[in-house]
Amino acid sequence: MKLSILGARVIDPASGLDQVTDLYLDAGKIIAIGAAPAGFNAIESIDAKGLVAAPGLVDLNVALREPGYSRKGNINSETQAAAAGGVTSLCCPPNTKPVLDTSAVTELILDRAREAGNCKVFPVGALSKGLDGEQLAELIALRDAGCVAFSNGLESFRSTRTLCRALEYAATFDLTVIFHSQDRDLAEGGLAHEGAVASFLGLPGIPETAETVALARDLLLVEQSGVRAHFSQLTSARGVALIAQAQARGLPVTADVALYQLILTDEALIDFSSLYHVQPPLRTKADRDGLRAAVKSGVVSAISSHHQPHERDAKLAPFGATEPGISSVELLLPLAMTLVEDGLLDLPTLLARLSAGPADALRLPAGKLEVGSPADLVLFDLGSSTVAGEHWLSKGENCPFIGHSLPATVRYTLMDGRISYQA
C-alpha cells in the first residue's frame, strides 16, 4: 500500500537525520525521504505536522507468556500492548512453558505473532535444555527456526565448565548469547537489594555482588571463548563499570537496562507494595544514577521494558509471596520520554537507545529509517501527555506507573508500512 507521512520531524539516530520532511512508503518499505518519487500516488496520507517520526522501537525483552502462562498474557495481547508503546520489533525470552528450547515452540510463537500482526517477534532461545543449565539446547535447530540469540535467563549454570562449553559452542557458529548475570548462591532467597531499605523492612537481601561477581566471571568467559555477548538487565553502578572496563579493553560486548531501573529505586519498597517486586531487584539511588550515566555515555546502548505481565493474584499476597515483574511495554515511549524531560538525554540519543542500539546489539533487521529499510515507525506527539492506564491492552495490570501523567503520546505505530496502532 502506498502511504505518505507528511510534515513530521523525522529523526533517524543511526544516520543522524533530524529534520522536518516527508516519508513515502510502498510495499512495506520506505521508498523515499524528502521528495516524492516520480509517479507516487498515495492511497493514504498521514498529516504528521507537529509529530515526531522515528524508527519503530526495538524492545529486547518482552515476556509474551505464551505458551504456558495465558492467565498472565498472550502473544496477541502483549504484542498489541507493545505496539501501543511504539514498539515494532521485540524479543521474547525463553521462560515459557514448555521452555523455548525446541524449534516447535519457536515456530508456534512465530506463527501466532504473524497471525496477530502487531509486532515483529524475535524469539530468544534457551541456551540449555529446559533452562536447567546442564545440557545444551539444540542451538542451530533453534537458530534455523528463527531464534536470534540464546539465554539462560536468571537461571545460572550449575557448572562454570558447562557454561564455558556452551559459550564456545555458540562462538563456533557466531551466535549471540544474552547474559542476565546474577550469582545463584549470593542471590538465593533474596527479595530486595541488600541495603538499608531491605534491612529496615526485614526483607532478605540480594547483594550487589550477586551481579558483579557473576558479571566479572561472565566477562572473562566471553573474552576467552570469543562469543558475541550481550548483557541484559544490569542493575548496579559497579556492574556497568565492569562493562565499561571490558569495552575499554576492546571486548565487543553490549548491554541493556530495564527502563524502570532508570526511574525507580529500592526506596519504593517502603510499605511493601508488591508492584515494585522485581528480579533482579531495584537498587539504590547511586546505582540508578550510575545506570543513567552509562545510558547517556553509550556504555549501555539499549533500554528495554523487561515487560513481565502478571494476573492480579500473582501480586495479591505479602511481598515475599508475590511474583516479580512489572508490566510496562505499553508505556515504553512515553515513560522513556521522562529521561528527556529530566534532561538526562536529548531526543535523538533516547531514540537511539530504543531503536538502533538494541537492534545492533542483536543484529536485528530493525531500528533504522532509511530508503529501502522496512517501514517500521512510530509517530508521536511531544505536545500531548499520556495518562498511563487510561487505556490498557496488556493482560498484566501490574504497573506502578498507572495513574501518572507521562510526556508524549504515541499517535501511530506502523509495521511494514501498515498501521499496527493508532491512538
Binding site: 532478605p204 511493601f272 495479591l316 505479602p318 511481598f319 521522562t338
Partner: protein
Amino acid sequence: MTPLDAKRPLQLNAQGQLQHFLSLDGLPRELLTEILDTADSFLEVGGRAVKKVPLLRGKTICNVFFENSTRTRTTFELAAQRLSGAAHFIAEHVCPQVAVINGGDGRHAHPTQGMLDMLTIRRHKGGFENLSVAIVGDILHSRVARSNMLALKALGCPDIRVIAPKTLLPIGIEQYGVKVYTDMAEGLKDVDVVIMLRLQRERMAGGLLPSEGEFYRLFGLTTARLAGAKPDAIVMHPGPINRGVEIESAVADGPQSVILNQVTYGIAVRMAVLSMAMSGQTAQRQFEQEQAQ
C-alpha cells in the same frame, strides 16, 4: 518521578489514633507512652480475681497464622523470613472496621513484643532518658530487635547498643541510631538493660556462625560477663530461651532476670493495643459517618 502510592499512615485514623498496629515505624512518642500507660492500668486488672475487662465484649478476635508449614524447621524458617509485610498486606485488604494487630511478620516487626519490652524497662527503670540498653545476638533475623530499636529511639533512650558478629548484623543498621559493638565486654560495659535474642540453630548451616559453642564463648550471657554491666542491670529475653547457647541458666533464672515478668506484661500490652485499635476503628467510623452527613 515518585510512585503515587507514597507512604501513608496505614496504622493511624484521621485523628491520629491507632487503628491497626503493624509496626512502630513512624508512631509518635506520645502514642507509645499511651500504650504503656494503658497497659499499666491493665496490670491492675491482672491482679484481680476475675481477669476480664469488658472492652472487647461483642467483638470477634481472629488469630491469623501465615506460616502454613511447621513440619520442618527449614520450611518454617523460609516461610517466616519471606513474610515480612504480611500484616501490612492484610491491613490494606481487610474490610473497614477490622483492626489488624501484627503478631510478628518475618524479620520486619514485632511491635507488641517491642512495647512489652518497653513496659518491662519502664516498670523496672522508671523511664528511658538516662538508660544504656544493649541488644545482643542475632539482630539480622530478629523482628524483635528491629521493633526494640525503633521503640527505644522513639521513647528517647540516649544509648542503644547492638552486640553481634558481622554475619548477624543487617546492612545499614546505623539508620536505627544505634552503636555497634562486636565485643561483648565492651558492649555490656555499664549498661542498665541487656536484651538477649534467641539464636536459631539453623544459623550454623549457612556459614553465619561456626558453632553454638563458639557463639556462646563470644556472645553468651554469663554471670561473669553480666558483672560488667551496672550492678542493678536487668536481663531480658523474648523467649523461648536456649540455655547454654545465648544465656547461662544462672543468669536466666538469677536475680537480675525479668524474663518471666515480660510474659505478664505482654498480656497487658496486647490488651492495651487491642482496645486502643478497636476504639480507633470506632472513632474512624463515626468520623466517616459525620463526614458523609
